[in-house]
């Protein structure tokens, strides 16, 4: 469980969060939406222990976090992989992953689980954007994180690839039950993936929590026809 208690953070001359308090359950998927510059990525970096709050604290499973930890995996949109390492080299990068035969076999099984068997020795430049994001996911999962923080991970992918990646994330999360905090600009993506959505409205330091009322597992084609989908979508758009 992630507990954020009275969290404050500001960049020079600009307060981003002032006394933010919330919590995220283990195994929950939470999306963070809001206009650019409102602090979505900053919130992820605070949760990851990379930025230090000016006040308040963040607890993960009862332990206060102030430094980056292997229990929290990070996935970014456009800097997904180390370009100088092969697919297997990227997946084996984490200290826990190591390079023993057992961990190598585990890395290969993770690569298989994201559908990239046969591409182990390719460089990132030889992969498509979607394939790079799959490797980034496998690399994070190699450390068995309890929380995965994703900063617009599918922002640069075409619609079909984005949908495939969303389904892959859902199946991996269902299998391993890690918590996901996902920053996205795509309201439909947020509704499809999340249990709850945190909206960071413009010109306020509030955080609006919106529960997504549709049961899981969801069917992409069906969810948009659910009663209340349009209302929820409009509400989230208004909050941005």
């Amino acid at each position: 469980m992630i507990k954020v208690d009275s969290l404050s953070f500001s960049y020079p001359g600009e307060a981003i969060f002032d006394g933010l308090t919330t919590s995220i359950d283990s195994g929950e998927i939470v999306s963070v939406v809001g206009p650019s510059g409102r602090g979505k990525s900053t919130l992820l970096l605070l949760l990851a222990g990379i930025l230090k709050p000016s006040a308040g604290n963040i607890e993960i499973d009862g332990v206060t976090r102030s430094v980056a930890s292997q229990e929290i995996g990070l996935v970014f949109q456009d800097v997904a992989l180390f370009l100088w390492k092969s697919v297997i080299g990227n997946v084996l990068f984490g200290r826990r992953a190591g390079a023993s035969p057992a961990t190598r076999a585990r890395a290969n099984s993770l690569i298989a689980s994201v559908g990239l068997t046969g591409h182990e020795h390719k460089l990132p430049s030889q992969l498509s954007g979607g394939m790079q994001q799959r490797v980034a996911l496998a690399r994070v999962l190699a450390n068995d994180p309890r929380v995965v923080l994703m900063d617009e991970p599918f922002g640069s992918l075409d619609t079909r690839t984005r949908w495939a990646m969303q389904d892959l994330v859902l199946s991996l999360q269902c299998e391993r039950n890690f918590t996901i905090v996902l920053v996205t600009h795509d309201i439909d993506e947020a509704i499809y993936l999340s249990h709850r959505i945190f909206a960071l409205p413009k010109d306020t330091d509030r955080l609006e929590e919106v529960v997504v009322p549709f049961p899981k597992p969801r069917i992409r084609e069906g969810i948009m026809r659910e009663p209340g989908y349009a209302t929820l979508r409009n509400r989230l758009l208004e909050l941005q």
């Binding site: 930890s69 292997q70 990070l74 970014f76 800097v79 370009l83 100088w84 200290r95 826990r96 430049s125």
Partner: protein, 244 residues
């Protein structure tokens, strides 16, 4: 080009100050047969290589240190910026006093020239590494050593390679100064002797040899980089060693 050279040498001072290509080729052949060409090339190449390796290694180490550590940047950055514009040849009188005209003085002079392009490129390259690479590595549990060798230095490699490649030319520039300042062998030493003996054919032959060594060095360096770091030529990477 060769035709222009032939015509020019025909009209210029009856070839005395401007020998024909075949006179230069004959001089080159003569130097090769006597063995002095090989001896001189080996001596010059050794000085350039030692200076390149020493200056390049120090440049990368100090560039990383000042690029990633503010305290070291404050301590050494200004000093290096002050020394960087100095022409290496201005160091010759001091080096002769300190180290004489033996080999160490030449190595130091070439290393001095090589150091600064490598230092400034490594400094800028390591400073400009996208912080998200570092955050990702930290969240994956990378140690400081792993962060340096597997993340920051590879991410800065395009800039470091540019600095090293620039410094190949600088190494030969410094080699000229080093051998003119006093040497017993070397391509530039031989050119200096040829000038005193008014042997313009041997002088031009020396220039061609020096240019060829420089070209071969650059070609070998680019091939090494392409083989050792194939990802540098991948799409989306700013550096392209093939076209640089």
């Amino acid at each position: 080009m060769l035709s222009l050279w032939v015509i020019a040498s025909h009209f210029a001072d009856k070839g005395r100050l401007f020998p024909t290509p075949w006179e230069v080729a004959a001089a080159l052949s003569d130097m090769l047969v006597t063995g002095e060409l090989v001896r001189d090339v080996v001596a010059s190449a050794r000085r350039a290589l030692v200076g390149f390796v020493v200056g390049g290694t120090l440049g990368i180490l100090m560039g990383y240190a000042t690029g990633r550590n503010r305290l070291l940047d404050d301590s050494f950055g200004s000093l290096f910026q002050m020394l960087r514009p100095l022409p290496p040849i201005s160091l010759v009188p001091l080096l002769i006093l300190w180290l004489g005209i033996n080999e160490p003085a030449k190595y130091v002079l070439v290393s001095f020239g090589v150091f600064f392009p490598v230092w400034i490129n490594t400094h800028q390259g390591t400073r400009a590494v996208d912080p998200r690479y570092i955050w990702m590595a930290q969240s994956l549990g990378a140690s400081r050593q792993k962060l340096a060798f597997e993340v920051i230095l590879p991410a800065a490699l395009p800039m470091i390679v540019s600095g090293l490649r620039t410094s190949i030319g600088v190494a030969f520039f410094c080699l000229v100064a080093a051998e003119l300042a006093g040497a017993m062998d070397g391509v530039v030493f031989r050119m200096n002797l040829s000038q005193l003996a008014f042997r313009v054919d041997r002088l031009i032959a020396g220039l061609l040899v020096l240019g060829s060594i420089s070209l071969i060095s650059d070609t070998l360096f680019v091939r090494f980089i392409n083989v050792a770091f194939p990802w540098l030529n991948g799409p989306g990477n700013a550096h392209d060693a093939k076209s640089a």
